[in-house]
Every structure is written in C-alpha cells, then in structure tokens.
C-alpha cells in the first residue's frame, strides 16, 4: 500500500518522467523531500546525520567520565555552567552523574549510533541500490521507521536534561536497581524516559527490519539471485532477521519492567528491603530480566557488527581488486553466526547465580561461535593476499576493522571460558573486549562505509588526505585506549567504578589511566577532522565520477545523483556475481554485475561460457537476460504483486514494457 507513493510519483501520468534526470523533480516540496521523505536514500541520510549527532553526544559523554577516571584530582568547575549541580562543590562530578554518563554513553553508542546509525544508514541506502530496486518494499513504513527513531531520540535526549538525571543503572538496566526509584535518582523519571524511548526505538527497528527483509527477498532485479548478492546485502539481510527475532524479546523485557515500575507487579522483584521498608513484592526474579535482556543483548552485538563486516567485505574486495576470498564461506559463516548468536546469551551471566550446568552448556556454545568468526577473519586476510591494493580511506578503515575484530574476538575466547570469566567478568577486560570487537570495529565499518559511499550519497568526494589523517589518528588512538585497558582488567579493576583509590588492590595504574584518558580525549578530538571533511565535502567536495572506485556493484550504474526511483529507465539486469575483479583475460580489472557473460567471452570461465546460451536478448530493449531467471522471476502476469507496488513496477520495467501500457 505504501509503495503507492512511489507509483504516484513515478508511474501515473509521467511517462516522460522516467527519461529525464530525477534531480529535477518538480513536485517534491521541502517537506516531502527532506523531512517526510519515502525515498530510501533520503531516509538513509536522515539516519546518517542522526547517527553522527548521537556519536558526538556519546563521545562527549565518555570524554567527561574519562576525565574523572584519568585525572582524579581534576577540578571540573568549568563544566558547572553546563552541568550545574552535577559538579560538586569540590569540583568533582557527582558519583550518580558518573553512572548516568556511562549508562547513556553505552545506550547511545550501542543503539542510537551503531544500530540506527549504521544499519539504518547503510541498509536503507544500499539494499535497493545494490539489488537493483527502485526503493524499499514499503517506503511509507520506512519513513515511519525513521520517525519512530526520531521520536525515540528526542525522548532520550530530553532525559539527559532531567533534574534527577537520565537512566543510570548501566546500559543493561538490570532491575531491581532500574526498577526502584528509591535506589538511585536515575531510576526515576530518567528510567521512564529510557524505557519509553527504547520501546519506540524497537518499533522503529522492527519496521525497518521487515522492510529490509521483504525488499531483499522480493525486489531483486532480474538475475540478482541470492548467490549473486553482494556480501553487504547478505549481511544486512541476516542482521535484519536477527533484529526481527530478538528485539521483540527486549520489548517484552522492557514492558515487564514498566509493569513492575508503574503497576506494582513483581516480575523482577522479590524480597526487597529498601529505603527503610520491606516492599510487598515477592516471587519475581532479577535473573529473568537478565535472560530476556541478553537474549536480545547478545544478538544485538552482532546486529551492530554484521553490517560492518558486510561493508568491509565489499570494500576490501573492491580495493584489493580481488574477489572476496570464500564468498560462500563468508555467507555460511554469517548464517552460522546468525543462528549461534541466539544460543550464547547466558555467557553474560556465568556468575549471576545461573545454574553451573547451564554455565557449562553456554561455555560450549559460546566457543563454537568463535569458529565462524575466525573463518571470516582468515578470509579477509586471504583476500588481501596477492591483491593489487589501493588504499582509499575506506580501505584503511576496513583493514583497521579486521584488526579490531581479531583483537577483540580473541579476548572473547578468554571470556567465553566460564572458569576464567569468574575473574574477568565485569572488569575492564570485558570493557576492552567489547569496545574493540563491537565498538571500534563497527564504528570503523560505519566510517569505511561513509568514505566509500559518500560519492553515491552526495555526488561528491570526501577529501582523501584528511581521510588518511583521520584514519591514522583514530586507528592508533583506539589501540592506545583499549589495548592497555586489558592490563587494567587483568589486574582486576571492576567496571563502572567512580574511583579506585578506596581499594588497596585497585590503587595502582594511575599513570595508565591518565594515559588512556588522554588518548581517548585526543582520539575524540580527531573526529572533528572527519566532521569537517564530511560537511565541507558535502557542499564543496570534488565532484564524483560515475564509478570512483571501479566497483562491480549495481549502485555505481545509477546516475551520480540518483533520483527517487534510482535508475532512469531500465533497472539494469545482473549476469554475474559482484566480485569479478582482476579476472584473467578481461581488459579491465573489474567487470560490473550488469555486464552480460556474452559480452566478455575473453574472460569467461569454462562453466560461464556454457551459461551464455541461457542469456537471451530482449529484442525491444536490447536488454540481455537469463532464461532461467526469467522463468523464476515473478512477472506482472502472475499478479502476485499489487500493481503499483515498487516490485510490480520494477518487473514491468525489467521486461522492457511501459507500466502504463500494460
């Protein structure tokens, strides 16, 4: 139904419309073009800008708490104009506010930056462009998805300014701390807003996820079989499936917590004496919440990581000028990760009072998930082997991602061993682990993606030199922050501590904490290089050529400034997988997916040569397509897709007909 929008802008009464550049859309006003847009590209940009906004806030918050951790005696009185009462008269930050800072930093980075900002941006932008669709299956739902996210963002943002502070019980918001307003100020209004915001956020994720899945399944262009999908799309597809299955569980966890908070139920509460009185609740279990939370929580970390890995696969293959090594193994390992990510959640709960037998089971399952992760890392490295590597900033960020993925993944193996985890759980070792493997790796995926697809986003190039400087500052900086953090973790320092001086056993490594804080703040500041580059190049950057990275995927066949509908006229058909780089015999070192096998007899592999017979040429349009595909592809005559939906529209175009004439 929603796709009617697309139809109305492109089909009805605008025959000529398809033939001229969509940039000259005349009937889009400011509101429909920039605000309530149903164009996947605009929605992607909205997500990207929102993500950048949140990243600035999230990094800002972490800078403040790193000041506290690194420089115990520092006077932060100068922050008083912004933070008011949260700065104590002594010039230190209030311990409650410290907890609020780490909580909001975690929430913002995990959900608002690396989930919405990464998946939201690139799934939206790339799925239609790379599979050859005019838009998402439902542009309207897609728009709703963004606006639910926007409202969630506003609410979360407002909570930062509450007098009692935002939610403060850690990003995992374990009850009873998060359930009882009397336990800490952040568990009052701040927690209410957190829960409402997250509920809306989940709705947004589900709307987006359903759309991604439907679009990938239904709207692939002719010839784009699943075995020819770029790995980006595979990653987004599997990510969306994970999200669709796991976010509802977080929703239920949040709902039950809302019930406990507002309506006096006892899902998570039992035998509690607080604030001088015994609460009436009995029979609930805080552990139940942890199970529900981590049933989302662990898949969530892959929701954050998989898109980044997909982006990396694409960028590494393109810039190594080599096929990604083990395309099928890459897909297989992502599928394995998808399935396994649902059965390892309790490794976050080894010492929560979980039955030790369950602990054993989850230890086994957890270490199994390390295998497909290892396979991916090896495949990346082998892709570099014997390449002809061009170091674009995107390529550097992708190599950096692989490095972080390895470093952080390896420490996961130590943590996944429940016996070792007894000591390491809730120490800085865990903080180092997940910042590398999830935080830094996914952030690098996001940045790599921006550097790589900026030309497609804005029709202009980012400045390369600034990109290099940005990369090296950030890459080195992140290692300077998180590598020594392992040491602090091995020494046993607990996370979420306001100060360590109260304990003999933790009263050391002062210099190391100085160092980490300084490195963190400098790395944060280095991000301004990127911000400048981003906004400057958006308006003043060098104009992008059609296919700046000499890439194979379909998005580079669309106009430099694609309009709503992406391609003018025909959607290109696809005849080959996306990784025909440096194919022996070919004149160029890349063969885009829309080049028919019949056009490249010199480079076809023996089995491909045999497939040429299956390609037939449409007499009317000159478009060559694959017979088998034609048999499988739904056509308008099937009437499976409502006329006017993006899919139907597209099928009509694929066979070269005019939607109006049929």
């Amino acid at each position: 139904m929603s796709a009617v929008d697309i139809h109305s802008t492109h089909g009805v009464g605008h025959d000529a419309h398809l033939d001229h550049d969509h940039e000259h859309e005349h009937h889009d006003n400011f509101i429909t073009k920039y605000i309530f847009s149903t164009d996947h590209k605009m929605i992607a940009k909205q997500y990207l800008i929102s993500g950048i906004f949140w990243a600035i806030i999230g990094i800002g918050l972490s800078s403040i708490f790193r000041l506290q951790l690194g420089f115990q005696d520092i006077k932060l009185t100068w922050l008083k104009p912004i933070l008011g009462e949260w700065i104590l008269d002594s010039g230190k930050i209030d311990p409650n506010f410290y907890l609020a800072l780490v909580t909001m930093h975690g929430t913002i980075m995990v959900f608002f930056v690396l989930t919405a900002g990464l998946s939201g941006t690139f799934s939206n932008f790339l799925i239609p462009l790379q599979i050859g669709a005019r838009d998402m299956a439902s542009g309207f739902m897609n728009m709703l998805s963004y606006w639910f996210f926007f409202v969630a963002s506003v609410i979360m943002f407002v909570s930062l300014f509450l007098e009692t502070g935002p939610a403060s019980g850690g990003w995992v918001i374990y009850p009873p701390l998060s359930a009882l307003p009397q336990a800490m100020p952040g568990s009052g209004m701040g927690m209410n807003l957190w829960l409402i915001s997250m509920a809306l956020f989940i709705v947004s994720q589900l709307l987006g996820g359903i759309n991604y899945i439907t679009t990938v399944i239904n709207l692939r262009t002719r010839g784009m079989s699943f075995s020819r999908l770029p790995l980006t799309i595979w990653a987004f597809f599997l990510t969306a499936i994970i999200g669709l299955l796991s976010f509802p569980v977080l929703m239920s966890a949040a709902l039950l917590l809302i019930f406990d908070r507002w309506f006096g139920t006892s899902f998570y509460l039992s035998e509690i004496y607080i604030g001088g009185e015994a609460l009436p609740n009995v029979g609930g279990s805080p552990i139940l919440f942890q199970h529900l939370f981590w049933f989302l929580g662990h898949p969530e970390v892959y929701i954050v990581l998989l898109p980044a890995l997909g982006i990396t696969s694409e960028i590494i293959a393109t810039n190594a000028r080599k096929p990604i090594f083990g395309y099928r193994a890459m897909i297989g390992s992502m599928m394995a990760i998808t399935v396994l990510s649902f059965v390892v959640w309790a490794h976050h709960m080894f010492v929560s009072g979980l039955n030790p037998f369950l602990g054993s089971i989850f230890m086994f399952l957890t270490l199994i998930i390390a295998v497909p992760s290892a396979v991916k890392a090896f495949n990346y490295i082998t892709t570099l082997w014997k390449g002809n590597i061009v170091f674009t900033p995107a390529m550097l960020f992708s190599i950096g991602l692989v490095s972080f993925f390895i470093s952080g993944g390896l420490t996961g193996i130590a943590l996944g061993n429940s016996a070792i985890d007894i000591q390491l759980h809730d120490t800085y070792f865990v903080v180092a682990h997940f910042h590398l493997v999830m935080g830094a790796a996914s952030a690098f995926g996001l940045l790599a993606g921006v550097y790589h697809w900026f030309p497609k986003f804005f029709g202009r190039m980012l400045d390369e030199k600034l990109g290099y400087i940005h990369f090296w500052f950030t890459f080195v900086g992140i290692y300077l922050v998180f590598f020594p953090m392992h040491y602090i973790g091995i020494a046993g320092f607990p996370r979420r501590y306001y100060s360590f001086t109260g304990f003999q056993v933790f009263n050391k490594y002062m210099d190391l904490n100085h160092f980490i804080s300084a490195a963190a703040i400098l790395t944060g500041i280095a991000q301004f290089i990127f911000l400048f580059n981003f906004f400057y190049s958006m308006f003043k950057g060098r104009r992008a050529p059609q296919n700046p990275w000499r890439s194979n995927t379909l998005e580079w066949t669309a106009p430099i400034h694609p309009g709503h509908g992406n391609w003018v006229g025909e959607i290109p058909s696809v005849y080959r997988w996306p990784y025909d780089y440096s194919k022996p015999g070919a004149s160029e070192d890349f063969i885009p997916q829309n080049v028919p096998l019949s056009a490249t007899p010199e480079s076809n592999l023996p089995h491909e040569q045999g497939l040429i017979g299956d390609e037939i040429e449409d007499m009317e349009t000159g478009v060559v397509f694959d017979k088998k595909e034609e048999i499988n592809a739904p056509t308008v005559k099937d009437h499976k897709l409502p006329k006017g939906s993006a899919g139907a529209d597209q099928n009509i175009r694929n066979i070269g007909g005019d939607p109006e004439k049929l």
Binding site: N96, Y174, E271, V282, K322, T382, V505
Partner: protein, 378 residues
C-alpha cells in the same frame, strides 16, 4: 581573559589548517593527481601499515612487560591457581594467533600494494583452506573448553561438608557478614520482612537455629586458611556482586535468590604481609555489580587467619541476639524464649554451657542440610 585568548588561538589554528587544506586540494587539482589510480599516498599508507605493525608490536610487548607486575594479584585460593593457569595458557594461544594474524594483515597490504600494470590474482576460493581453518580453530577451542570445563565443574561443585559456612549480605552500600553460632553451627533462617535498624540481615527469630548466630565485625570478613569456606550470598535491595580479586572469586548477590560460592584460602593475611613486604597489606572484597552511588566504595577487608586463631576468635563471639537483647528478645516466639535465653547465656560465658568448637577434624560433620539448601538455591 585567558579563555578568550585561548578561544582566539584555537580559531586561528583552525583557520590556518583550513588554508593549508585548501591549498593542498588546489595543488592536487592542478597536478591532476586525483586522476591517477594510486599515487604517493598509496605508498605512504602501505609503509605506515608496516610501521604500525613494527611499532605496535614493540609497544604491545614493552607495555605489557612493564605493566605485568600488577597483573592478576597473587592467587590465594586453591581454584584460583587453576584459573590462573588456564588464563595464561589461553592468553598464550591468543597472543600467538594475535601476532600471526596481524603480521599477515599488515604485511600483505604492504607487499601487495597497488602497482601500475600489476594484476591481482583471481583466487576466489579454496575449499581445502576453508576446511583447515574451520577445523583447526575448532580443535583448539575444544581443547580450551574442555580444560575450562573441568575447572569450572570443580569450582561450582557442591561445597565439601566440612566447609565453614558464612553468610554475606549486600546492601546499598555496604556488606554484612553473619556466622553460624557455635551451638548448632548452622545459620538460622532469614526473612526480609524482619529487617530493621538493629536486624540488618533479617535474622528470623522464629527459627531457633538463629539464636546463636553472630554478626561479623563491621568492615571485615574473617576466614580460616586451608579450609573450605562456603559463602552464602544474598542482597537486601538491589543486585550486588561479591568479588574477591585475590581469591578469583565472584558471585552476584541477588535479592530474592540466594547464591553461593565456596573456596579454600591458601595464605593468611600475615603471610601475604610478609611476602609483599607490606605490613599494611589486606585482602579485599569489592562489589562488581553496579548498585548505585556508592558502588565503588563497597569494600570489605578479608582477613585470612590460621585455623587455630580463627577458632579462638570464633569462640569468643557473642550471639547477635545477646548484643541486642532488649530490642529483639521479645520478637522471639514465647515458646522458644527460654531456649533463646539459655543460648544467649552460653554466649556470655563460652566455656560454661556448650562445648566450644574444636579443630575441624574432631567436630561432628555439619548438618548436610545446610549444604543442601545452598545447593538447591539455584
């Protein structure tokens, strides 16, 4: 004034950087260097990756070497030593993989950097390789899991019967320690509804087993060396977590769901003071589950004593009921009051009414029910 100057300075630097950036861009446009597929920057970046590899390796080795003194505090529990072995073996393997993969990851880009006229190998897959690097990690991981599993099973097995049972209760923001009294050597029941200012852990006075229980001195957890100690862990308000870094011990304290962890200390505080040459040395217990404002200050000193000293100390402790007699005695059900008074009296004069506890071996085994309840606490 200073701020304004700094501000102006920052703006100036920004402007200068911007100019440099503009000039750089213009020059590259004039030279047409952006038409080349890969120029000097490509070589520089390739070289930098190698430099990063070398400096990074040096930095990683040097920094971990110089930080190593403060790694894992000396283990002082039986299972702690096993965990440490496991940890270092695992870390050894992980570090080897880390360096091997990173050498390749940074050397390949350098070696195979873009050269005009070169062509990448068209090498899309190799099933044999895939199988190898699926199976080898799988085997290594299996070995790690199996060795970890064995240790984990031992650690989480039921506590031995002769274990010293001690209850530890977390609240915002401190810990309470309760010992079973010497009359029955069993912890009495508790009930969170009985918590009040004098009864911090909700000792249930309708259970006669609780009459002789006593509360540990504030700020301190006292345990004997060389003997299994079973901690029964609870929380009063929100989640807390008992963490004793030297003992490799960690277990959440959950309101409404008692948990437990048992361990055998291997070194007394006095021994450690000697070994570390630090007369002020103390073992500590910290909270590792965020619990609010004072989370970072939930500290308890853990005192490990020779068994004889421990028993001597233990025997001189007065029942909690005795020290708060006025308030709490009337909460004891009437039919048990006499018994309570008798036990309190015994507390006053240890040598009189009850035989004091002797060395563990001569002691009748602890009622298995105690151990059992803690087991079923899952």
């Amino acid at each position: 004034m200073m701020n304004i100057l700094l501000g102006i300075g920052a703006i100036l630097i920004g402007v200068i950087l911007f100019m440099i950036f503009r000039v750089g861009t213009l020059i590259s446009v004039v030279r047409g260097s952006h038409h080349k597929r890969a120029g000097t920057s490509n070589k520089v970046n390739a070289a930098l990756l190698l430099v990063f590899l070398v400096l990074g390796t040096i930095g990683a080795v040097w920094s971990s070497y110089s930080a190593a003194d403060d790694f894992l505090p000396a283990p002082v529990s039986v299972h702690g030593e096993q965990i440490d072995t496991l940890f270092w073996v695992t870390m050894g393997i992980l570090c080897a993989v880390f360096f091997a993969t990173h050498v390749l990851l940074f050397y390949f880009p350098f070696k195979y950097q873009f050269k005009e006229g070169n062509r990448a190998a068209f090498y899309p897959d190799n099933n044999k390789l895939e199988v190898i690097w699926t199976i080898v990690p799988a085997i290594v991981l299996t070995l790690l899991v199996l060795s970890g599993w064995k240790v984990w099973r031992d650690i989480t097995a039921d506590a031995p019967q002769e274990a010293e049972v001690i209850e530890i209760v977390g609240q915002q923001f401190n810990w309470w320690v309760r010992y079973p009294g010497k009359v029955d050597k069993e912890l009495g029941a508790y009930n969170f509804r009985m918590i009040d200012a004098s009864n911090a852990v909700g000792i249930d006075l309708s259970d006669e087993k609780s009459f002789d229980d006593f509360m540990g001195p504030s700020g301190e957890l006292r345990v004997p060396v060389g003997k299994p100690v079973l901690l029964k862990i609870r929380a009063r308000d929100v989640l807390h977590s008992v963490y004793m870094p030297h003992f490799r011990l960690k277990m959440d304290a959950v309101p409404g769901m008692p948990t437990r962890f048992w361990f055998t200390p291997t070194k007394t505080t006095a021994q450690m003071r000697q070994e570390t040459n630090n007369p002020d040395f103390n073992y500590e217990l910290a909270c590792t589950e965020v619990c609010g404002r004072g989370h970072f200050s939930m500290r308890l000193i853990v005192v490990v004593e020779e068994q004889a000293d421990y028993v001597k100390w233990y025997n001189t402790q007065k029942p909690w009921l005795a020290s708060t007699r006025e308030d709490n005695l009337q909460k004891v059900p009437a039919n048990l009051r006499e018994k309570a008074l008798q036990i309190i009296g015994a507390g006053d004069n240890p040598s009189a009414a009850v035989t004091p506890v002797q060395e563990p071996t001569t002691e009748a085994p602890v009622n298995p029910a105690v151990v059992k309840t803690s087991t079923s606490a899952q």
